[in-house]
């Protein structure tokens, strides 16, 4: 729950006390919901009494650069971010700010130039291909893509797509199918969809299938890259509800979005990425009500639904001018 202040972030973003949605208080808040996932999960995963489990995700001083020579560009620089168990962190930033790069670096799809990434206490920085595969097969971290149309193989039925992560783990086909079925309810899908192809589903259904596929391995951390950007508002609300249930089940979420509005309602903490650097982190309430960095202020003032009336155009222009200097 510590976040190292990046060079541009103002001091004082560090949280002295754990946020209200930390691991301890979650079970009391909604015992009915949390039971469902907990039952299926081996007891070794739940935090034992007295011991403080390591954060699900620790990122420190992460730097990722693309290209070579003169065309080299820095996508991420000095990004540090911790995600505690069951915590939901919203990562906000505009296009090109490095949001997706951050997700891909955590998942091992992009190699980091500097910094460390630890998943569940395991440092993955020096992992070769084989060790990454072993880590991924445990299903601790899962990912939901932005585009629900292309993230499902058009030639595989929904059942095939849902069972794939389990089959990769070596779960027998019958058992994998049975386990996949139990997750349909959570994402509000019916069993009759299992035999269909992705092309025969609506965008919202497809995205819920993608969420269900990420859940079948019972991950402790799910990274969602713009999960609602491609959806209409009704489906957006539905996905957000599913994510809230997940959060109360103790799954840590990293919710990546360009839209402060969709993150505000679900995130415990918000991290703001601007041009590859983490400019501000804090509890969701703090960031929205008392934004410190000019970029965050611009974001908040550009989202009218969040903060009363939209700010004056002149004020926003002034903030933009400040950012470009």
């Amino acid at each position: 729950m510590t976040t190292e202040p990046s060079p541009r972030s103002p001091s004082g973003t560090r949280e002295p006390s754990p946020p209200e949605d930390s691991t301890g208080t979650r079970a009391q808040r909604s015992p009915g919901d949390s039971g469902r996932l907990r039952e299926a999960r081996p007891t070794g995963h739940s935090p034992g009494p007295g011991t403080t489990p390591p954060p699900v995700l620790q990122v420190a001083g992460l730097r990722v650069r693309y290209g070579l020579g003169r065309r080299r560009r820095t996508a991420l620089d000095g990004v540090s971010l911790d995600v505690a168990r069951g915590e939901t962190v919203g990562v906000i930033g505009e296009t090109g700010s490095g949001k997706s790069t951050l997700a891909r670096a955590i998942l091992g799809l992009v190699r980091a130039d500097a910094g460390t990434i630890a998943i569940g206490g395991e440092d993955v920085g020096g992992h070769n291909r084989r060790r990454w595969r072993a880590l991924r097969r445990r299903g601790v971290v899962q990912y939901v893509f932005q585009d629900p149309l292309r993230s499902l193989d058009p030639d595989l039925t929904i059942e095939d797509s849902l069972t794939e992560p389990l089959l990769v783990q070596g779960v027998p086909r019958q058992e994998a199918a049975a386990r996949a079925r139990t997750f349909l309810d959570r994402v509000r899908l019916t069993e009759e969809l299992l035999g269909r192809l992705p092309g025969e589903l609506s965008g919202g259904q497809r995205q819920r299938v993608a969420v269900a596929r990420a859940l079948v391995t019972e991950p402790r951390l799910v990274i969602l890259d713009e999960p609602v950007s491609a959806l209409d508002s009704a489906n957006r609300v539905q996905i957000l509800e599913i994510l809230k249930e997940l959060r109360s089940d103790g799954v840590a979420l990293v919710f990546i979005s360009h839209d402060l509005g969709s993150v505000a309602g679900i995130a415990d903490r918000i991290a703001v990425l601007h041009q590859g650097e983490l400019v501000e982190t804090g509890t969701a309430r703090d960031v929205i009500q008392r934004p410190r960095h000019p970029y965050t202020r611009l974001l908040v003032s550009s989202a009218p639904t969040l903060h009363g009336a939209p700010a004056e155009r002149a004020e926003r222009a002034a903030l933009r001018a400040l950012l470009h200097v």
Binding site: F145, R150, P154, D155, L156, E164, P165, V168, L197
Partner: protein, 296 residues
């Protein structure tokens, strides 16, 4: 896949034709009524009771030669196609996944093969390996393989970076898993088309090599060889090249039909096509089931 191909009319026709050709290849030499190599005094004769398709310029029975040559012809072109598939398509798929080094080497090898003059290379390899149908077909297969390499590589590249492949990788899938489950289905249709085309080209290659004395040795008959020798006597028997030409054409047509059928039924569109037909057959009142529902 097999059942879906057979659900299409074109698929059934293709399979029927190719089965006939395969039977001809297996049983042809046994069915030949006369010795395909025996010469006689009746040269360039017209069709008669003794010689159903007449005789050639050495008085040999054309019908027997056609039947006897079918095995070599079919096996030869199959050998070409399978060699090309193995040498071309497999590295084509793997070139996308096995890293820059493998990619660079195989790409340059493919370029080199394209640049080599075909006949010269064939003659050189025959000189090294000895003359024979197998050597000739292997050489031809290797020379045709860049087509398969390119086609397989292009189809693989189209899906290699797709989110569903990345999703599989994030779940810990191995390279083999990704290729088997996601890539192969997308690569198969274009490869099938290339394969059918190569089988057709194979017949022509077998005959042109025969003409040069490479591969099948002169007295032994092949379809392409018959066509070539008949063409020299067009003024005497203008109808003679028709039969071997028709046989080659029908075989090529059959394999093209099969390739088309495979392309039609594979992938999303193909499955939808077959499902639609089945649905229409089962429920004539509801011809087009609307894909919807599932929300609560």
């Amino acid at each position: 896949m097999v059942r879906r191909v057979l659900a299409l009319t074109t698929g059934r026709i293709a399979v029927a034709i190719l089965t006939l050709v395969a039977l001809l290849a297996v049983l042809g030499p046994l069915l030949a009524p006369q010795d395909p190599l025996a010469t006689s005094d009746t040269m360039l004769a017209a069709a008669s009771g003794d010689h159903w398709l007449g005789t050639d310029y050495l008085g040999r029975d054309v019908f027997s030669r056609l039947l006897d040559g079918s095995r070599v012809s079919v096996l030869g072109s199959l050998e070409v196609a399978l060699t090309a598939l193995l040498v071309g398509a497999v590295p084509g798929i793997l070139s996308v996944y096995l890293g820059r080094g493998f990619e660079w080497i195989t790409l340059r090898l493919a370029d080199t093969l394209v640049a080599l003059p075909f006949l010269l290379f064939a003659v050189a390899v025959i000189a090294l390996l000895g003359n024979g149908i197998t050597q000739a077909m292997l050489v031809t297969g290797v020379l045709v393989s860049p087509l398969f390499y390119r086609v397989a590589r292009a189809a693989t590249l189209a899906v290699a970076r797709s989110p569903y492949v990345e999703a599989a990788l994030i779940s810990g899938a191995s390279l083999g898993w990704v290729v088997r489950r996601h890539v192969w289905v997308k690569v198969l249709p274009p490869i099938a088309v290339a394969l059918a085309q190569t089988i057709g080209v194979g017949f022509v290659i077998v005959s042109s090599l025969t003409f040069l004395g490479i591969g099948v040795q002169p007295p032994a008959p092949t379809w392409g060889g018959l066509l070539a020798s008949d063409l020299g006597y067009l003024s005497h028997r203008p109808w003679a090249p028709l039969t071997p030409a028709l046989l080659i054409m029908v075989t090529v047509w059959g394999s093209n039909l099969l390739a088309d059928a495979i392309r039609d039924v594979s992938g999303e569109a193909g499955r939808a096509l077959v499902n639609q037909r089945r649905a229409r057959a089962n429920r004539p009142d509801k011809a087009d089931p609307a894909p919807a529902g599932g929300t609560r």
